[in-house]
């Protein structure tokens, strides 16, 4: 009887560790290959010709048109700089600088990847179309409620994710005048 109990215990632990670790590696994955810059995360190996097994599994899971390493890098944030999940019940302010890139775009999507910007407004913000502060840094408001300056207007409610795509960038290479700094995501008012 004790043998059966121990066998069951071993099987439960093995399945829990095996599948749990795999799920973690392909969703959060910070202990594996995902790089983190503040609230932003990226798979730096995703556009490489010979990605590591974790990135290869991630590519299979996403089945999306990823950027090649020479093209740029896509970073994602599902939490703000304080670690709280992004919600359309709140408004957020992005402030700071982005790494050196020819240009970048900012989009908001729901957990299923659907763009959650208002249908009759811009679906994304682009670096060439925003107003900058006097020192060259950026300040962007994201949310469903009217905001001054650069505003990515969202629709609906529920959680969302911000995606910042840097085209022709030197991030994670150690080159570039601005270094690997990303804008902070500061939560403002919530409904």
């Amino acid at each position: 009887m004790r043998f059966v109990f121990r066998l069951l215990l071993m099987c439960v632990i093995a399945l829990g560790v095996g599948f749990g670790l795999s799920y973690y590696a392909l969703t959060d994955g910070r202990m594996f290959t995902v790089s983190q810059l503040g609230p932003w995360t990226a798979w730096p190996d995703v556009g490489a010709p010979n990605p590591n097994p974790y990135t290869r599994a991630h590519l299979t899971r996403e089945a999306a048109l990823q950027l090649g390493q020479a093209e740029g890098l896509h970073l994602v944030a599902s939490v703000d700089s304080a670690g709280e999940p992004l919600s359309r019940n709140c408004t957020y302010r992005l402030e700071g600088r982005t790494p050196q890139a020819t240009f970048w775009t900012l989009v908001a999507t729901d957990p299923a990847g659907v763009n959650v910007a208002v249908p009759d407004g811009p679906l994304a913000l682009r670096s060439t179309g925003i107003v900058r502060e006097n020192d060259g840094s950026l300040r962007i408001h994201v949310g469903t409620r009217l905001a001054p300056g650069n505003w990515l207007e969202l629709a609906g409610e529920g959680p969302f994710t911000l995606g910042l795509t840097l085209y022709d960038t030197a991030v994670f290479t150690g080159f570039g005048a601005t270094g690997d700094t990303m804008p902070a995501i500061v939560r403002e008012a919530c409904a």
């Binding site: 599948f19 490489a48 097994p53 089945a63 020479a70 994304a124």
Partner: protein
Amino acid sequence: MIRTLLWAIAGVLLGGIIHLVVILSMPLLAEETLWTRLEGLNAENRIVILPPVVAGQPNPLELDPELIYGICRIDLAEGPAYMSGRLPDAFWSLAIFNSAGVVTYATTNRDGIGQTLELGVFNAAQTRLLAQQQLDIAEGLLVVEATSDELFVVIRLAPPHAIMRPRFEAELAKVQCGNRGTPS
């Protein structure tokens, strides 16, 4: 108690093996991959412009709403593949995907190519033949050696303003691609 602990440690080790098997086998077992998603586009030897992203609609390929995407499927078993054309004066990039969804080659127009796109894609045997013939490669022609025959070439084009999108899409659609109908 110690024996139970040993069984638990064995469970952790077995879990590690299961984890490795899951990660390594996922690309082999997946039924819906990037390749299957792109196969239905009917892009054999021609450029197909992907429809723009619409708010509130699914975007399984995770396209950037600001960009225009042109896709061409090539098969090097039918011979070397070519892409030839002139793109508008704006940022564009090119990536070659293999059937596993891995980018095997990528470049941008910032790498000194400018507006002219002249690309030759060869497999290993074709590259060897090309080298043996000692042909002069025209300046600006990109020669890419691919490790597999079945490939997708994806061109991303960034129109500076949304109003320019139809004209840029038309320009991108003019790019010649494939084993046939390309310049000699």
